[in-house]
């Protein structure tokens, strides 16, 4: 954000910072912002390209998180034997 934009932002936009805008974007995902906060966020996004870029990346992350799936990975035979051994030993001396 240029210094000109910054000055404009703090003068007309209720001085919402990018840090706060991120908070409101996250709260909005849960529907936990008021209407006036929503308006402030829109106004901030209207003039802040960086936060618009953040918002786009944020949506990408949220979407990709939903697409995560468990991979088929295995413990080694040695680790499995150790688990059996450790549990049975622990039990014997407890």
């Amino acid at each position: 954000m240029s210094s000109k934009e910054l000055a404009f932002n703090s003068k007309y936009m209720n001085a919402m910072s990018c840090h706060e805008a991120v908070t409101f974007m996250l709260k909005k995902e849960e529907g936990k912002i008021s209407f006036s906060q929503q308006l402030s966020l829109w106004r901030h996004l209207a003039i802040c390209r960086l936060c618009r870029l953040f918002s786009a990346q944020n949506r990408l992350i949220n979407y990709a998180m939903k697409q995560r799936h468990e991979k088929l990975i295995a413990l080694s035979e040695k680790e499995k034997r150790e688990i059996i051994q450790n549990v049975l030993d622990q039990n014997a001396f407890s």
Partner: protein, 193 residues
């Protein structure tokens, strides 16, 4: 002899459980953001509890479901423990913003060309997402996975982790901003190869 025989049988059945279910449980723990060693320890703890409670189990649910319930409780315990140590972490200011709360120049978000409907992009993006989320600290992972994978609401997460709402938003904010920076950096890196 009559008294030792069931013990032998019990141990044999226990061994079968470990051989049959440990990979599934391990895979789940890794999926929930634990590294190899931590995931293996969680699996061992799960089986330890299962062994101790084997007599009380006897077919009330499927073995697999029962083991998963134990593992999930273990994971929540682990998360909660890390949350109780997170007070130090949530104070202090993120370096990605300047003192006025605007993006610091090295952290400027940039335009990324990602098309998740294309297979190569999707695979690359998922790989980077895995690597970057592995770098979050335990409490960040806890909040992040509970929110975006389990679809839990903030009040439920706060209750389960015993954290305040303010801390929740701070942790989530920090996690998201950090993950985004890591993704952008690595995405631009592979785009330029």
């Amino acid at each position: 002899m009559n008294q030792t025989l069931p013990e032998v049988e019990k141990a044999q059945r226990f061994k079968d459980w470990v051989l049959t279910y440990s990979d599934m449980l391990f895979g789940h723990a890794v999926f929930r953001g634990f590294d190899h060693d931590a995931a293996r320890d969680l699996v061992q703890d799960t089986f330890y509890l299962a062994w101790k409670n084997m007599d009380g189990f006897e077919g009330k649910a499927s073995v697999k479901n029962w083991l998963f319930v134990i593992l999930k409780n273990k994971i929540t315990d682990h998360y909660r423990e890390s949350a109780s140590q997170a007070a130090v972490f949530v104070s202090g200011h993120s370096t990605q913003f300047d003192s006025a709360g605007h993006w610091a120049k090295p952290s400027y978000p940039k335009e990324l060309t990602v098309n998740l409907s294309e297979q190569q992009d999707r695979l690359d993006f998922q790989t980077i997402l895995e690597g970057c989320s592995a770098k979050l600290n335990t409490i960040q992972k806890a909040v992040f996975f509970m929110k975006y994978m389990d679809d839990l609401e903030s009040d439920v997460i706060c209750r389960q982790l015993s954290i305040t709402v303010n801390n929740y938003w701070t942790i989530l904010h920090r996690a998201k901003v950090q993950l985004r920076a890591c993704l952008q950096k690595n995405w631009l890196l592979i785009q330029n190869i």
